[in-house]
């Protein structure tokens, strides 16, 4: 094969791989804190991307409405749970987080839509909307069953995926959309052409990886999140608010998903259901990383991206088959490396 093609494929693979890495990180983050295998991660991607694309096209995104509605439901949950001891501070917090925040974002979106308000504003609004959806999703769907088995959480996660994908179709229609690029700069290096967009992908991914690593390794909040993952009861006993940890994890995952969506929507056309497959590939990376290690997940994601690029060149029909079977040998090796751990379930 010639070097140019190889370089092209590697470049393509790294760009995709960087996105998978972001999603893989989010999945690891959520699993590590809440034990939820976040199938709807892909929906955060499509929501972020399509909200951004809608805003750029001057349309009002339905996701803003969804965020507001979920906020109201979440408020109901908060009040119902605390009905025996309704203190003013608690109600106040519930109103601010669940009602006021999404209402403000909704109003802002409503006010700004149709005005040419610039890329930065659109991105900020998209991120705010999707982040809130993530937060409320945890509050509504997962917080009440946070103590149950991984299996039950997983099924609930599937339910969320189905509902959110349905909402995606409702809001954005069946047609694919593209969004405006962050920058139109481009330069060439040897045979390769680098666009501003792909550079942004690399930079943002690297920033997130380093950021998460610092956050979890060196801050008290990060360590508290990790402690929640290991032992919920123990974490509560030492004063960590586990529900807050879960909400934070979902918020961050939604944010990461939306960021990756916004990064890729100028490169590829996204449909309401594209996120699922992209999320699954992030998944492959996360699994190879063992759902615990951030750097390993990032490396694995790059490998997945490159394998995908090469297999789409040489055996495009079997691209997905190859990517997904890539997991199996890794899983076997992982299981062999740490065998026979007694699992006390239920």
């Amino acid at each position: 094969m010639n070097t140019t093609i190889m370089l092209f494929l590697v470049q393509d693979g790294i760009t995709n791989g960087a996105i998978y890495a972001l999603l893989g990180l989010a999945l690891v983050l959520v699993f590590a804190v809440t034990r939820v295998i976040l199938i709807p991660q892909g929906e955060f991607v499509t929501y972020g991307a399509l909200t951004y694309a809608s805003l750029s096209a001057g349309q009002f995104p339905g996701t803003a409405r969804l965020a507001l509605a979920m906020g109201i439901v979440a408020f109901g949950f908060d009040i119902y749970v605390a009905r025996k001891s309704l203190r003013r501070r608690l109600v106040g917090r519930a109103i601010i987080v669940n009602i006021a925040l999404p209402a403000i974002v909704f109003a802002l979106t409503y006010a700004l839509v149709g005005h040419p308000s610039g890329i930065a504003v659109n991105i900020a609004l998209s991120l705010a909307i999707v982040a809130m959806i993530g937060l409320f999703l945890y509050r509504i769907a997962f917080q009440p069953i946070a103590h149950t088995s991984v299996l039950v959480l997983l099924i609930a996660s599937v339910g969320c995926h189905l509902a959110m994908q349905g909402f995606g179709l409702l809001f954005f229609g069946a047609e694919g959309q593209r969004g405006p690029a962050l920058s139109n700069a481009a330069f060439t290096l040897g045979p390769l052409r680098f666009t501003g967009q792909s550079i942004a992908v690399y930079v943002v991914t690297a920033a997130f990886i380093v950021g998460l690593w610092l956050f979890f390794g060196f801050t008290l909040t990060g360590k508290a999140l990790r402690a929640t993952a290991v032992n919920r009861l123990g974490a509560r006993l030492v004063g960590i608010r586990t529900t807050l940890a879960g909400q934070l994890a979902f918020l961050m995952a939604a944010l990461i998903g939306a960021v990756s969506g916004i990064l890729i929507v100028p490169i590829t056309t996204l449909y309401y259901d594209t996120g699922f497959l992209i999320g699954l590939k992030g998944f492959v990376a996360a699994i190879i990383g063992g759902l615990v290690s951030y750097p390993l997940t990032a490396v694995a994601a790059l490998v997945v991206g490159i394998v995908e690029a090469f297999s789409s060149f040489y055996a495009s029909d079997f691209k997905e088959v190859i990517v997904f079977t890539l997991i199996l040998p890794v899983l076997v090796l992982r299981s062999l490396a740490q065998p026979a751990v007694e699992e006390e379930k239920d």
Binding site: I145, G159, C160, A163, G166, D317, T325, I327, S335, E343
Partner: protein, 591 residues
């Protein structure tokens, strides 16, 4: 088949058989019932795999695909009769399950469901890209099932084929669960250490349920192919795989009929949503996935164990459980004729975990007809020593021999064959199985019938003897009253006694008891002590770890004292009581 427990099934079968003959039955309902049956078959496999065996699989739809495509290719390309392709479809699904299962069942924890998602999706893409499977379009023109001149084209005739398959599968599955193999499978979900200590080969049992579930899915796929008379990749993809798991969880993942109920709930719900939602909300498509997803999450929040157990708890009947016929006896385990006087010899056994030496060159032995107690402060290495003897842990160095033969780090399944059985410091019973069933696991190696014979009820004689032996041991430890209670409902002290009965079912020469008296009341302790003496006088040896000094001093013939992994003393109770090193270890330095 008209045994009392089977009566509801017979009634159910009669009702199902009558439904198509009800005048004015809309044909559309029959189609729904066909779909429920197809889905129930897959869900039933998942009940066994996930609910009972604890192995979560998202990939069952792929096995349906193997079944459907096998018959599709063979009937259309090669013109084989559908009935000929039935065994082949099941075989292909089974072989695929062996290949995938060898990889999958070794995965631990959450790697397992994730792995199944991965190959589930991989296989879906494989189905949709292979030329001879018709790529994305699939294969059409599959001939209908036919018996003589009766061609099962309309939904009302294939209905019988589908529901006969469901009923047979349900019966076989229930038979399997209610057997020696079934108990082994049911014990797996709670971790494999206890099951393996009684000779269950955990990976083999897991592979068995994996294959069983895949064959049921293959059967469903075969029926599906002849029902819709076409096969394309969509119904065998990741989404479908997820949905099957969902069906099982909604119905109640631990219950065979939960699979059928779950299938009914999900299929009908989807249908209702698809036909009525557009009426309410005005024509918008995809609303049903939204409502479906939301209902799913709501249901899980309200009934995380599924609808079936919730329903059963509200019915006024309790299942009739027959008492085993105690006149039946199991032949004793074959053992060496001339028993040497030293049963167990531990020679400089050592176990290191990284820098920690949990057991430091410990040597002692257990003679025939002797009760030896292993005592020492917490963290002295007593339980670790037990785990070394029983093969749960492998020794870093040293030699452990039974009846003069070194066991060389043999796995637990082989140790129990030598006649060494044990109880656990942290009780390892299956809480949702009865005392009788739990204890019968102890006799696992003394039964012989496998999965196939138990599915077809050819194991009854063997099974009756196993249960009789279990019942006898339960009587012996004094829990005859509780024999049919769920193990999880007993007090912790009683659960420890159940563990002893289970260990006795092995017909052991040496019984290892890890803190048997913890949680017992004074009278119960005395009964336990007299039972152990009686066992010793009957020729058994006992090695026990215990903290209750009164109990130990009264009972043991010899005491070995460990402290920080090292043996500090050994002798008769009288000598140990006055040993200065022992007093120092327990009470600190003497002033």
């Amino acid at each position: 088949m008209a045994m009392p427990q089977r009566l509801p099934i017979l009634l159910f079968a009669l009702v199902m058989a009558a439904i198509p003959f009800v005048p004015g039955m809309p044909p559309f309902w029959i189609v729904l019932l066909d779909n429920i049956g197809l889905s129930a078959l897959v869900a039933m496999g998942l009940v066994l795999l996930t609910g009972v065996g604890g192995l979560t699989s998202f990939g069952q739809a792929a096995f349906c695909g193997f079944g459907a495509y096998t018959t599709a290719v063979l009937t259309t390309t090669y013109g084989l009769s559908p009935w000929l392709t039935l065994p082949l479809s099941l075989l292909v699904s089974g072989i695929a399950a062996v290949v995938l299962g060898l990889v999958t069942v070794r995965l631990s924890g959450h790697y397992l469901p994730l792995g199944t998602i991965a190959w589930g999706i991989g296989l879906f893409y494989l189905f949709s890209k292979l030329e001879f499977l018709g790529r994305n379009d699939g294969i059409s023109g599959i001939p209908p099932l036919s018996i003589g001149s009766l061609r099962m084209i309309d939904p009302g005739t294939i209905y019988f084929a589908i529901w006969i398959a469901v009923l047979i599968a349900a019966l076989l599955t229930m038979n399997l669960l209610d057997s020696r193999t079934g108990r082994a499978i049911r014990a797996l979900r709670r971790g494999h250490i206890a099951a393996e200590a009684f000779g269950v080969h955990a990976p083999r049992a897991k592979l068995l349920v994996f294959i069983y579930a895949a064959v049921l899915a293959g059967l469903s796929g075969w029926l599906y192919a002849h029902f819709v008379r076409a096969a394309n990749p969509t119904p065998f993809g990741a989404q479908a795989g997820i949905e099957y798991l969902f069906v099982a969880v909604v119905g109640g993942a631990g219950y065979v009929w939960g699979g059928v109920l779950g299938a009914a709930i999900v299929v009908i719900l989807k249908e209702v949503l698809q036909s009525y939602l557009p009426l309410i909300f005005g024509g918008s498509s995809q609303l049903e996935t939204i409502v479906f997803g939301i209902l799913l999450v709501t249901l899980l929040q309200l009934a995380p164990t599924g609808v079936w157990p919730w329903l059963m708890a509200r019915l006024p009947f309790t299942p009739i459980r027959k008492r085993p016929d105690m006149s039946l006896t199991l032949p004793p385990r074959s053992r060496a004729t001339a028993t040497p006087s030293v049963l167990l010899q531990i020679d400089h056994a050592r176990k290191q975990f990284g820098g920690v030496i949990a057991v430091n060159d410990v040597s002692f032995d257990v003679q025939a007809r002797e009760i030896v107690a292993l005592i020492g402060p917490n963290g002295a290495g007593k339980s670790t020593t037990f785990n070394l003897i029983t093969g749960v842990l492998t020794a870093s160095s040293g030699r452990i021999s039974v009846l003069g033969k070194a066991i060389n780090n043999a796995p637990p399944q082989d140790i129990v064959k030598l006649g060494i059985s044990r109880t656990f410091q942290h009780v390892k019973l299956v809480p949702d199985m009865t005392v009788l069933e739990n204890v019968a696991i102890g006799a696992h190696l003394r039964g012989h019938c496998g999965a196939i014979s138990s599915m077809f009820r050819l194991d009854r004689a063997d099974e009756a003897r196993l249960l009789a032996e279990a019942a006898r041991q339960i009587e012996r430890v004094g829990l005859g009253e509780q024999i049919n209670q769920l193990a999880g409902s007993l007090s912790l002290g009683q659960q420890r006694i159940v563990e002893i009965a289970r260990a006795l079912c092995v017909d052991p020469i040496l019984l290892l008891l890890d803190e048997p008296a913890a949680g017992l009341r004074h009278m119960e302790k005395q009964q336990l002590a007299s039972l152990l003496r009686q066992l010793r006088d009957g020729g058994m040896s006992v090695l026990l770890v215990e903290h209750d000094m009164g109990f130990v001093m009264d009972l043991a013939d010899r005491i070995v004292v460990l402290d920080f992994g090292t043996k500090i003393a050994e002798g008769t109770p009288g000598a140990i009581k006055s040993n200065p090193d022992v007093i120092k270890a327990y009470l600190g330095a003497v002033a």
